[in-house]
Subunit: 342 residues, 2 copies
DNA sequence: ATGAAAAATGCAAGCGCTTACATTGCAAGA
DNA sequence: TCTTGCAATGTAAGCGCTTGCATTTTTCAT
C-alpha cells in the first residue's frame, strides 16, 4: 500500500501493465475493444495500484461527464427531498451521477451555482420553476447544456418541464374550501418574487374565488418565506384582523404547519374556528395535528420522469418534452365547515 | 449574442483582448498582478464574450478546485439538512463550493460517491460518522484529500471529527427518563450495522440503565430504518408485549414521530400511558403532538465549525482537530411520569 | 540621462485523459 | 505460400487552463 507518493495515473497503469495508455483507457471505456488477456492484466494492475481515473481530465478529453446537476431552492425542509431522491435513483440506474446544490431561493446564488455546475461539465441540469433571467438560458444554450424544469408545468415556456400545474392544483383546492362553505378566505403565500410556483398558486386561489362570485381583491394575502416560523407569524397576523378569516390557504405544508403551531399557541381551534390547508403533502402534513388537508404532489413520479426526460435530452434522443403530472387533494382533519354564524 | 458556435475559451478572450492567455488567467486569479488598464480591458472582453472558465481544465492545471464534497446518508428527511445548510453557507463565505450526494445509508454507494467526489477534484470531504472500511481512508490518504467526520465526536478515531458524543447525549436523556420514574424502558433504534452513531446511542441507554441498577439486557431494542413508518411499526410491535414498556426511547426524532403517529392510531395516550423521546430536535419534534422531549443537537453550529475546520485542513493550516459540540435535552410533553401501578 | 530593480507580460510546458489515425499481428481465402 | 482484411494496439494531438521562468516595460534613485 502506498508505494508511490501520490495517486497513480493512467500512465502508471499503462507502464506497469506494459501497454499503451490508449489501451488502458479502452479497458475502462469500451472493454470489448480490447482482447480478454490484456484486459484482465490491465484491470489487475488497476486494482493493485488502486487507480481511479481523474474526472477532470476525463471530462476535458471526452467532453462528457455523465453528471447531472440540480439546483434546488433549499435543502432546509423536505419539499424537494423526496422528488430529488427519486431523481437521483433513476439517474444512478442509468449511469449518471447527481450533483446537487441549493440556492436558498436567491436568484444570484442560483445563477452562480448554474455556472459552477456547467463549468464542472454537467451534461444536463435540473432547475426548479421557470422564472429566471433570459441570460441564464442563453448561457445554457451557448454551452449546449440541456436544462429541464421541474415542480412546474408550463407547456409554452422556453424550457421543457416536468411537473404539475400549480395554478390548477391550487384552484381545485380552493374550490373545495369554498364548497365546504367558506367565504372569508385568506392566504399565506411563499414569496412570489422570482417564484412562479408561488405566483401561480396565489392565482389559482384568486381564480377560484372569482369563479364563485367572491371578490378576490378582498382576499388577504401575506407573503413570507417558506419557514415554519414565518407561517406562524403570518397566522397570528391574519387572525388579529376583524372579521377573522374562516379558512387560511397556505402556499405549502411548511407554512401551514407553522400556522397550525401558532393556532395551538393562540388557543384557536383548528378546524372548529378556522380551517387550514397546505400544499405538497410532505410527511409533515400527516404528522401535524390536526392532520393537514393538502394537495398531494407525486414527487417520486415527478423525479423519476424528470430523470428519464433529462437523460433523453442529454443523449440527444429528445428535444425536450414537457410532461404534466397529476396532483390530487388529500382530505384530512384541518379542513371543515366554517363555525356557525361566521 | 452567440456569434461563436460554442463557448469561448481563455484563448478567445486573450486574442480579443490582445494579450496572452497567461494575462487573462491572472486577471481572474490574481488581479493585482496585472496593471489596471489591461485588467479592465480583459474583463470587458470577458463580459462581452460571456466567457466562463472551464472548471475541469482549471482543476487539472491548478490541482485545486475550491470544492468541498459531502456525502450524507439521506436527503429524505431533515436530519442533515440544517447542519448541511450551515456548512454550505460557511464554505461559500470562504470561496468554496459544496457538492452533496447521498448514500442512502449504503456503504457501497457511499464508497462510490467518495470516489466520484475525489475524482472530481474535491479538495476535502465531509463524511458522516466514523465507521467505514479502512480502504476508503487509505484511498483518501493516497489522494491527499483531507476528510472530516461530522455528527459524531470520537477524539481517538483515525479521522478528526466535529460533532457530539452520541453515547453521552443519549445517556443523559435516558438518565432523565429514569429519573422521571420509568423502569420498563424499550428502545427503537436505527440500524446499527455500519452506523456508529446508532450504536453509541443504544450504548448510552444501556449504560444509563446499568448505572441505575436496571438490567440492561432485558431492554427490548428494535432496530429499523430511520423512517416514520418504521418507527410506527416498531412501536406497535413493542406495545403488543406484556408488560408494556412505560417509556420508549427512539434513536431519532423521525422514529419517535412514527411511534407517536402509531400511538394515536392505537389510541394509546402519550405521555399518560407511555412516554416517548426522540433525538436531534428537528422541526418535526416541536410540531409533533404531543411535542417531543428530545436531545437538541446544535446542527448549525456543528455545520459551521465543520466547515471552518475542513477549510483549515485543506489549506494545510490544520492537521485536523476534533471538536465536541454540546447537546442538551429539550423537555416537551411526550415525557412524563409513568402511569400509576406500572 | 542612466542603470538597476521592480512590475507587467509573454512563453510554453504540462495537468491526465480520450480518440482519430497509423501500425502491427493474425486468421483465412486464393 | 502470399495476399487481404480485420481486430488489437500504439502514437500523438489535443481538451482549456495555470504557472515557473524568461523577457520586456516601467519606475526611480542617482
Amino acid at each position: 500500500m502506498g508505494k508511490t507518493r501520490s495517486a497513480p495515473t493512467l500512465n502508471d497503469v499503462a507502464s506497469h501493465a506494459g501497454v499503451s495508455t490508449a489501451t488502458v483507457s479502452r479497458c475502462l471505456n469500451s472493454p470489448n475493444q480490447v482482447v480478454e488477456t490484456t484486459r484482465v492484466r490491465v484491470l489487475q494492475v488497476i486494482e493493485e495500484l488502486g487507480y481511479t481515473p481523474n474526472f477532470a481530465a476525463r471530462v476535458m478529453a471526452a467532453k462528457r461527464s455523465f453528471t447531472i446537476g440540480a439546483i434546488i431552492p433549499t435543502m432546509d425542509n423536505a419539499i424537494f427531498a423526496r422528488g430529488l431522491q427519486a431523481f437521483q435513483n433513476e439517474l444512478r440506474q442509468n449511469g449518471y451521477t447527481l450533483l446537487v446544490s441549493s440556492s436558498d431561493y436567491k436568484p444570484e446564488i442560483e445563477k452562480e451555482q448554474i455556472r459552477a455546475l456547467v463549468a464542472r461539465g454537467a451534461d444536463g441540469l435540473l432547475l426548479i420553476g421557470h422564472e429566471r433571467e433570459n441570460e441564464i438560458y442563453d448561457y445554457l444554450k451557448r454551452h449546449q447544456v440541456p436544462a429541464l424544469v421541474a415542480w412546474s408545468y408550463l407547456p409554452d415556456a422556453r424550457q421543457p418541464s416536468v411537473g404539475f400545474s400549480n395554478r390548477d392544483a391550487m384552484f381545485a383546492l380552493a374550490q373545495d374550501v369554498i364548497n365546504t362553505g367558506h367565504r372569508r378566505i385568506a392566504m399565506i403565500s411563499g414569496v412570489t418574487a422570482g417564484n412562479d410556483r408561488a405566483q401561480r398558486r396565489v392565482q389559482g386561489v384568486r381564480d377560484a374565488l372569482q369563479a364563485n362570485g367572491i371578490c378576490a381583491d378582498d382576499m388577504r394575502v401575506i407573503e413570507t418565506t417558506y419557514e415554519i416560523d414565518s407561517g406562524a407569524h403570518a397566522f397570528r397576523d391574519l387572525m388579529s384582523r376583524t372579521p377573522r378569516p374562516t379558512a387560511i390557504i397556505c402556499g405549502n405544508d411548511v407554512l401551514a404547519v407553522g400556522a397550525l403551531r401558532e393556532a395551538r399557541r393562540m388557543d384557536v381551534s383548528v378546524p372548529d374556528e378556522v380551517s387550514i390547508t397546505g400544499f405538497d403533502d410532505i410527511e409533515l402534513a400527516e404528522i401535524a395535528s390536526p392532520a393537514l388537508t393538502t394537495v398531494h404532489v407525486p414527487h417520486r413520479e415527478m423525479g423519476r420522469k424528470a430523470a428519464q426526460e433529462l437523460i433523453a435530452m442529454v443523449n440527444g434522443t429528445s428535444k425536450g418534452v414537457s410532461t404534466c403530472i397529476d396532483t390530487h387533494i388529500v382530505y384530512r382533519a384541518s379542513l371543515a365547515t366554517p363555525p356557525n354564524g361566521a
